[in-house]
Subunit: 350 residues, 2 copies
């Protein structure tokens, strides 16, 4: 990306909080949203960062997202909490749900927070990463609006359905898997079309239901899960955990908050926290994790120019660095944020 | 496969139990092994069925597998059990671990059984399926001997590392994902070489570390995870849960019991059971699952001759049918079982 200078976390947080509180979002909720969006940039998940604000602000102004949700909490067992997000910004209920899961995990070794009535929550990895400082393994899934065809079908019924699992380590950055269980995004297909490039095989079917690498054909057809039939099974599992089990929508009926809609999106999220001490002493575990992760880093790479790494390695290093030097943003994104800021009387920081 | 007649579960169980008890395996342990191997056939996982006996018997005779393991159980928290398989047949410790996980899940809604000191345990789905009759979600992972290169590497460090998740439904057969997290197996690559066919792209790298669909080149190179970088992250996660977290081997040091070896394989397995009632009333959940799964079955297929299904659908129907009519076995497998039986004075049933 074409980058400009770097922004401090604090300055960006003030901007997001001022913008959202101006739209009647309570200040503490706005801080949770800001933290989630900014951490996405720190980890390199820029597609799930501040650019989401454009859609959120529009939805808040049109009352498609409830700015002041009355979030409900129901403790169903000693370890499970059901959270109803009351159609607020997804980050609010999601943050609460992982906090509750971690509270129970700290007490009895395991906790779960299940969310219904939510919206787009940004990057799944932001919530699973909350488990690290509590010495827990964090698992987060969410369902999403209908764009992906299950394996063998030519109709979409699933979403990008992210899955994130974070496992603490010792000296190594934590293992942090954070992935869409769909293959590519339609956004990337449109980019390929604009630049006249093919898309990778396995991403899409044309409208006849045949595999295609032509972006134009793909846009008329359907997107696929990652990893063929196996990946499709995982995308469906994410919908079961996030939608069927939580009481949210499922089976293709979650809506996108980024497009106009008649009713609430009703996304669901599933969050599980497991304390390492439930299984083995945390220091032994961390030594073992460091050994596992160091082995990965030391493997001979297929391309000598591209060392082998594990999920979370580069994001962890990037986060540590950017917390010191600030977050670079693309010129394009800065322009959008300046525009949305000036529309709402909030100055984007220099 | 070239099939002969069908065998009843009872006759096959008697054969396996007689064969194993003749090799000093206690009768109750032999029954667990028999049930696991036979259920693999019932579900259509024939590669993880009775053919495994050939390798098991050899390993038992050479004392590479302990016929009479002193399995140790350590309850670490209210919901976690650590099981040491004492280098016995993998099915024995794995069955115990899932039983313990389900016992705790029945009491407090969640249970985990972590196994170290184990061996090849057959099909992961056999253990996750045990969760269904207890109205639980069952999750099972295992690590395995070193054949798979992590994404970006040309050296293997991971195994076939199976992942299975089973979710009960109402009238529909349960959702039952049961997959190797590697792409194809080396066995299938050898079959492709023999029949002079290419292997699918994404399965393997040649010895220069380049993608190849040539089976000969693949056999000189390394196998890959399913689903590219994302799938590789999941294969590594399975090693973390099954090996790092359980106290078993990990990071490429699990051995195969099917090849000669100097020390115990030390596979690890991770098993988690979550009771549906911990999240929502089970009857509501089953109605929602049936709705989810029926939607999948009713999707328009890409190939009109191949209806869309979900993981576990065909296996569930096959199991119900074969419990009535018996299990067909390939002529080749029957020949092997007759031979191994006659070598050990146990007649394979007609």
């Amino acid at each position: 990306m074409s980058e400009t200078k770097a922004w401090s976390v604090d300055k960006l947080r003030v901007f997001v909080v001022d913008l959202l509180t101006g739209l009647n979002v309570p200040s503490s909720d706005a801080k949770d949203v800001a933290n989630a969006l900014i951490r996405a940039h720190l980890r390199g998940y820029d597609t799930h960062g501040l650019s989401c604000l454009v859609g959120y602000v529009e939805a808040l102004k049109e009352n498609r997202i409830n700015p002041q949700p009355d979030i409900k909490f129901d403790q169903r067992t000693s370890w499970t909490w059901l959270v109803d997000g009351d159609n607020g910004l997804g980050q609010i209920a999601a943050t609460r749900a992982m906090e509750l899961a971690l509270k129970e995990a700290t007490k009895i070794g395991i906790g779960a927070g299940l969310v219904r009535g939510s919206n787009h929550f940004g990057a799944a990895g932001v919530y699973s990463l909350m488990a690290v400082e509590k010495e827990c393994i964090g698992i987060v899934t969410s369902n999403a609006s209908c764009v992906t065809a299950p394996h063998g079908a030519v109709e979409p019924m699933l979403g990008t359905n992210p899955l994130s699992v974070v496992v603490p380590a010792g000296k190594c950055p934590p293992f942090a898997l954070d992935m869409a269980t769909s293959s590519g995004s339609r956004k990337k297909v449109r980019e390929a079309l604009a630049s006249r490039k093919p898309i990778p095989s396995g991403w899409a079917l044309n409208k006849q239901g045949e595999p295609t690498t032509d972006p134009g054909e793909a846009l008329e057809g359907v997107m696929l899960s990652f990893g063929g039939a196996k990946g499709s099974g995982i995308t469906l599992l994410v919908d079961i955990l996030s939608g069927v089990l939580t009481g949210a929508e499922f089976g293709g009926r979650v809506l996108s908050v980024f497009t106009n809609q008649e009713r609430a999106s009703n996304n669901g999220h599933f969050m599980l926290a497991m304390k390492i001490e439930s299984f083995m002493p945390v220091e032994s575990f961390k030594r073992r994790m460091d050994e596992e992760l160091t082995r990965i880093l030391n493997l001979k790479p297929a391309d000598p120019q591209r060392p082998v790494f594990y999920p979370g390695y580069r994001s962890g290093l990037q986060e540590a660095k950017q917390l010191e030097v600030g977050i670079p943003l693309s010129v394009d994104l800065v322009g959008k944020l300046e525009e949305i800021g000036s529309l709402h009387g909030v100055r984007f920081p220099k």
